[in-house]
């Protein structure tokens, strides 16, 4: 039993990291008032870009992750121009970008022959001597560098949103774009910036899945984690630290799935694979049942801003 727990918990940071990065990226762009449903697609872009980089230039996982972030940011410019400049319905635009990315990554992965080619990826490092502490040593101090990087990133974004002038302006754009516009802020620029920066984190999340966790590209490998991240943002009420807690919760749930089979517990495999999605629904119901559905939601979420249409 102890082995089971340690193996499980040692996996959790790795399974939680994609959720954490993706949710954080979504929080940045949604705080500017843009309902961002693109997570699933941009994570796929990051995933294919990461593996593609490793297969092309050799195994440089950190370079691959940077490329993954850049690739997702570049594709997010499409979404940004749709919703910010052309004021397309944000749900339609988000869904279109997801399916655009699904098609594109499937096509690129197959044509470039990146499918099912394993890469060495990024390995875990042991922080000696902390890693020799019994039990928690393996859980906390034998992880890959990106997991450790998550902590400063969360601090940075949290401070940026709550404590910096730029973050205040970003939130103002998301709460009341008309007022922000009147105060001289460029709503469009803030929103485009938030989408692009947030999407780089979505790319990192996708790249993490393919380069660090699975070390392989498979078409559609993100498998709904992007949608779960969207739900996670609602659960976290658009705040970074609760999102990290939620990511750890989903990391625990996702991490237990392969452990069940490995521990020799006989359970219907495909029903077990449903758990992350069922858990997400359960969490959403819990959020709703607390009767605070809209707390923390940016005031202008999902509404395009056209100065000439000011009401």
């Amino acid at each position: 039993m102890q082995d089971f727990l340690i193996n499980w918990l040692a996996n959790v940071p790795g399974t939680a990291a994609p959720y954490a990065f993706a949710a954080l990226g979504l929080i940045i762009s949604e705080r500017s008032g843009v309902l961002n449903l693109t997570a699933e697609g941009l994570m796929l872009v990051g995933a294919v870009a990461g593996v593609g980089t490793c297969l092309t230039i050799g195994n440089h996982p950190l370079v691959a992750l940077v490329v993954a972030m850049l690739a997702a940011s570049i594709v997010s410019l499409l979404f940004a121009s749709l919703v910010v400049i052309l004021r397309v319905n944000q749900v339609i635009a988000g869904l279109s970008v997801v399916f655009f990315c699904q098609g594109l990554t499937g096509l690129i992965g197959t044509l470039a022959n990146w499918q099912n080619h394993p890469i060495a990826g990024l390995n875990k490092i042991a922080i000696w001597p902390l890693s020799d502490i019994p039990v928690i040593g393996r859980i906390l101090f034998v992880q890959d560098p990106i997991v450790y990087l998550a902590i400063p990133i969360f601090f940075a974004v949290s401070i940026f949103l709550r404590g910096s002038m730029l973050g205040l302006k970003l939130r103002a754009v998301g709460e009341n774009p008309a007022a922000a516009d009147a105060a001289g802020l460029s709503v469009s620029l803030y929103r485009i910036g938030a989408i692009v920066v947030g999407s780089s984190l979505l790319g990192l999340a996708g790249g993490y899945i393919s380069v660090v966790s699975v070390k392989l590209w498979i078409t559609g490998m993100v498998g709904g984690r992007g949608w779960i991240a969207v739900a996670l943002v609602v659960f976290a009420r658009w705040a970074p630290w609760p999102a990290l807690a939620g990511a750890l919760l989903f990391g625990c749930i996702e991490g237990v799935v392969p452990r069940i089979a490995a521990a020799g517990i006989r359970a219907p495999q495909y029903l077990v694979l449903m758990t992350p999605y069922l858990a997400t629904l359960a969490v959403m119901i819990w959020v709703g049942a607390r009767n605070r559905g809209h707390q923390g939601e940016p005031g202008a979420l999902g509404q395009p801003h056209v100065r000439e249409e000011r009401r």
Partner: protein
Amino acid sequence: MHDVAMISLESQPAPPPKRPPRRGLGRFTLDIRQTISPWKQAGILGGSLAIGLAISVVILDLAGIAPLDLAKELAGVFNANSLRSVLVRAAPLILVGLGAGLAFRIGFWNLGLEGQMVFGGIFATAVSIYNIGPESTRIVVMGIAASAGGILWVLLAYWMKVRFRVNEIISTLLMNYIASYFLLHLLYGAWQDSKTAFPQSSQYRPFERLSDIGSGVNSALLVALAVAAVAAWAVHLSRAGFYMRFISANANMAKVVGVPVRTISLVVIAASGAAAGLAGFVNVTSQEGRLTQSFFDGYVFSGILIAFLSRNDPIVVVIVGFLLAVLFVTGQTLQVFYQIPFTMVQLVEAIIVIAVASSEFLIRHRVRWTR
């Protein structure tokens, strides 16, 4: 020089206000169009569609299909054989388009069309496996069961929305994954074909399949057209159609003046799920002949695309459904002969939606360049 300045100061009491200095390239301003001529509207729409299709052709060219070959394949769709498969494909596409369009009409984002198709297929197959009803009416019972499966799956999401305010965009999408894992659970377990040991149900018996109705046209198409006719009546002619427009315009106002908002929403959303369930039913009973792992792949976004392009109008849904079926059949050909993955269809679909959605901006606004 000094003199001139003095004189001008005295003779001209107030200099006219200076124009602000010209800045760089100027900027865009947007005007809201009050009216637009139908020709201009059609021109903008057609222009953006053309741009979208051109981008798709360029991408396919990069993927290794020369535009000429593509034209040949597209033209090849219109021989008798391929046309038949277009008609077969059109049936489920029209049905998911109707399902999406009905729900979008009252502002319910039913993105769970695939999950509802899965449950439609599962319920229909259950009727076949457990031999429910006499053989003569078996196919009808399967259809009804499939609708029930779709309704069940969509109403779960609606219940979560009404009771717990769970956003249906997220819940319906997640329920697609849950449904597909449940399908795999059945296909790798109790319902696995004992003859082939493949993860699929055993073949339906002949009376459990939608038959051809002459010249290769499958009765699946009749099912789809019948549902489209009912939907068109409901949307355009019935009182419910008027209520639906009222609800989507202003749900609170509708409630205040006595429109039965809850009932109408419930019925429309159930109808949306039923249409998706039927799409699963016609797919398994006309094309596959058995329940397979992936008979529902790619239908969510197809439904969204059809509903979006047809502006949720059931009559236009039929036309767009046929056009999309052409794209699907072409996609299959390209998959077989050029090893282009079928996700290409999704890519082209997404580009078309993006192009048309962008055109709406130009239809609604006049963009001016001011300096």
